[in-house]
């Protein structure tokens, strides 16, 4: 089995050969808190999009670039498809709400170019002024891996991802009523009292946990046991 310089025991074909010729990555040491080499994609972004791109900073070796909230989808699509950028891998979609209530909520995309071995953090700020909609464009059309990550971000922060095909809760159950757990105004023990939480848990009917969508895909409603059918038609969907 032949090996390339990095030690990949590479068989028949590969789609990606990471890095440039002669480029051997090494463990970063003694990284500065601020400053350092900025990811060259930031300059390319500024040349391409102009004022859509906000400030950029290098923190602990990683470049963060702020992008106007409504333009993130366009910017990401360009970064993914442009051959000179080639950000083919979406690492993470998440959000940050700061303890300082005046600071905007930040939605964070971690993206990576495997080909050029680059890492870029894109941020979009959503001001907490009550007027700005808590929403950003979805990047699901660019990277399919965004599907669950965006659902989780919606589940935990209530941030809408416009254009996501199936934006619903993922970790919490669909009828969860206490809000969005990772928001700073959400107390760690939940919004409801323990007795209310217990009441809801006891009233929950796990057998009825088929959503109406799942029932409709197979037209299986008629096949359910009579008592379950009765409960579902009575509006008792999932432990309400």
């Amino acid at each position: 089995m032949s090996k390339d310089k990095l030690g990949y025991a590479a068989p028949a074909f590969q789609i990606v050969m990471p890095g440039q010729p002669g480029d051997t990555p090494a463990t970063p040491k003694h990284i500065a808190h601020r400053g350092g080499t900025m990811n060259p994609s930031v300059d390319a972004l500024r040349a391409q999009f102009g004022s859509v791109i906000g400030r950029a900073e290098v923190m602990w070796g990683d470049t963060t670039v702020f992008v106007e909230r409504t333009k993130v989808g366009t910017v990401c699509a360009w970064l993914q498809s442009e051959a000179s950028q080639s950000y083919e891998y979406l690492v993470d979609v998440t959000a940050v709400e700061h303890r300082d209530a005046m600071r905007p909520i930040e939605v964070v995309w971690h993206i990576r170019s495997i080909k050029f071995r680059r890492f870029l953090r894109i941020k979009a700020e959503i001001a907490k002024d009550g007027k700005t909609p808590l929403a950003v464009p979805s990047v699901w059309g660019v990277w399919k891996g965004a599907d669950w990550l965006e659902r989780e971000c919606f589940d935990m922060f209530g941030i809408g991802f416009e254009g996501h095909p199936d934006l619903r809760r993922i970790l919490m159950w669909e009828q969860y009523k206490e809000g969005f757990p990772l928001r700073k105004d959400f107390p760690m023990r939940g919004r409801f009292s323990r007795s209310e939480q217990l009441k809801q848990a006891l009233a929950a009917n796990p057998e009825a946990r088929y959503s109406m969508e799942e029932l409709s895909i197979a037209d299986a409603f008629e096949d359910l046991p009579t008592d379950m059918r009765h409960r579902l038609t009575g509006g008792e969907k999932t432990g309400e």
Partner: protein, 434 residues
């Protein structure tokens, strides 16, 4: 005569599995060739209503509390809707109320098969946030810790997947070897599963005397078990028949769906964080990264099997180079004073008290440090506002993202193949639900 029959059976098993010319998965039950028609269009009267079937959340083959709702046409999966969240504990929320060292026990409990690796990943992220460079000995010890937990995780994967597919013996062999690794971890950290082995700036403890000999013994004996499993499985007709051509992801799809780890490499994308974004001086170790070609369940098995061997190679090199010296950094911002000083000197006692009660404080900043966990790219994203507790502690869960591609992988396959494909993803629900 018997030989001829055996030979024919294997040929049938191999020839009736895989992709047809137009790229669709093609399965004919073993021995039923010629008995049933391969073309459903020839038997239109057999087309009936679709059936809804629910797998899990309490089901041994879902490896935890995963629930899959499947729409079946006969035995073929038309649609798959996964449900997760049954194990959600709010780790990230709890992390915002804990000091940096207090979060480490939570990292054990997410991907509990890779607890040592999570501890190391967490410590690496936190140390970059604090601006700490760890010692030489600590670096090598952490490499050993990561590779040991990779071995544990892949062994559990191998054993449980064998059970899912119908082989029992490799399960016993792999779990016996896993026991040896757990014995090593127990001697080192005092715990087997929930190790909490690292601290910001060092390890919970240096390895005890004689520990390296025990590890050396494991390195010497473990490859024999791997050889046995290889002989048992790699050319086994049932194993091959139940894994080849299933859940195929092309390289482009695998990248686009955000797969990582063995899932991505089995599809032919040579991306390993240890090689491409090295940490812990991984670039100085001599090891290969296996890359598959077909992206099916069988290739994922081969990739993980080879990774086990490569982990042994890394362990061997790490053990040879393990330098003497301190494990913890000499940095009073994060490292507690020795116990005998804390109980005898006033300054050390105050230092101890303040570190424990108030906690170390990193500068304002944010950091994301990825590592190659057995499941894929795992990383912790910290946001600090300068206080002793993070503003945001985010886990980048590889099996969460890998699992999100399961509808794409199972659709068009048979119901029994769903189990094999689900097993090939190597999920740990603790990490998915967090």
């Amino acid at each position: 005569m018997a030989t001829a029959t055996d030979k024919r059976t294997i040929e049938v098993a191999l020839s009736t599995t895989g992709l047809s010319a137009d790229g669709k998965p093609q399965r004919i039950p073993l021995g039923a060739e010629g008995l049933i028609s391969a073309n459903p269009a020839m038997e239109p009267e057999l087309e009936g209503e679709h059936m809804l079937i629910n797998i899990g959340p309490q089901h041994p083959a879902t490896h935890g509390v995963l629930r899959l709702v499947l729409e079946l046409d006969g035995e073929t999966v038309v649609r798959c809707i996964p449900h997760v969240g049954y194990l959600h504990c709010g780790f990230e929320k709890i992390g915002e109320y804990r000091q940096y060292n207090q979060i480490i026990p939570w990292t054990d409990r997410e991907d509990y098969l890779n607890s040592m690796g999570n501890n190391v990943a967490y410590a690496l992220g936190a140390e970059r946030l604090f601006g700490i460079e760890i010692t030489e000995r600590c670096t090598v010890l952490r490499v050993i810790a990561m590779e040991l937990s990779r071995i544990i995780s892949h062994l559990v994967w191998l054993g449980t997947t064998c059970i899912d597919i119908g082989a029992f013996t490799p399960f016993l062999w792999s779990f016996q070897e896993r026991e040896n690794v757990y014995n090593l971890l127990e001697r080192w950290t005092g715990a087997r599963l929930t190790t909490s082995g690292t601290r910001v700036g060092g390890m919970i403890a240096d390895v005890p005397a004689g520990w390296t000999d025990q590890l050396r013994h494991f390195i010497d004996t473990f490859p024999k078990t791997l050889d046995e499993c290889e002989r048992m499985l790699n050319k086994n007709a049932i194993w091959v028949g139940r894994t080849v051509g299933l859940g195929v992801m092309t390289p482009e799809e695998a990248l686009n769906y955000g797969l990582s780890g063995p899932m991505l490499r089995a599809s032919g994308v040579a991306y390993d964080v240890r090689k491409d974004f090295p940490y812990l001086d991984y670039e100085t170790y001599d090891f290969d990264v296996p890359v598959g070609t077909n992206g099916d369940v069988y290739d994922r098995f081969l990739v993980r099997q080879e990774e086990l061997r490569q982990s042994v190679r890394i362990l061997d090199q790490a053990l040879k180079r393990l330098p003497e010296g301190p494990v913890d950094v000499d940095d009073p911002r994060v490292i507690l004073p020795p116990k005998h000083k804390a109980t005898s000197e006033m300054e050390s006692m105050i230092h101890h008290f303040k570190l424990v009660m108030e906690g170390p404080r990193p500068p304002i900043g944010e950091v994301y440090v990825p590592i190659e966990s057995p499941k894929g790219e795992k990383g912790y994203y910290f946001v600090s506002d300068g206080t002793a507790k993070p503003v945001r502690w985010r886990i980048r869960p590889p099996s969460f993202v890998n699992l999100s591609a399961i509808p794409k992988m199972v659709e068009g396959h048979l119901l029994s193949d769903v189990i094999a494909i689900n097993a090939s993803i190597d999920i740990v629900m603790g990490e998915i639900d967090r």
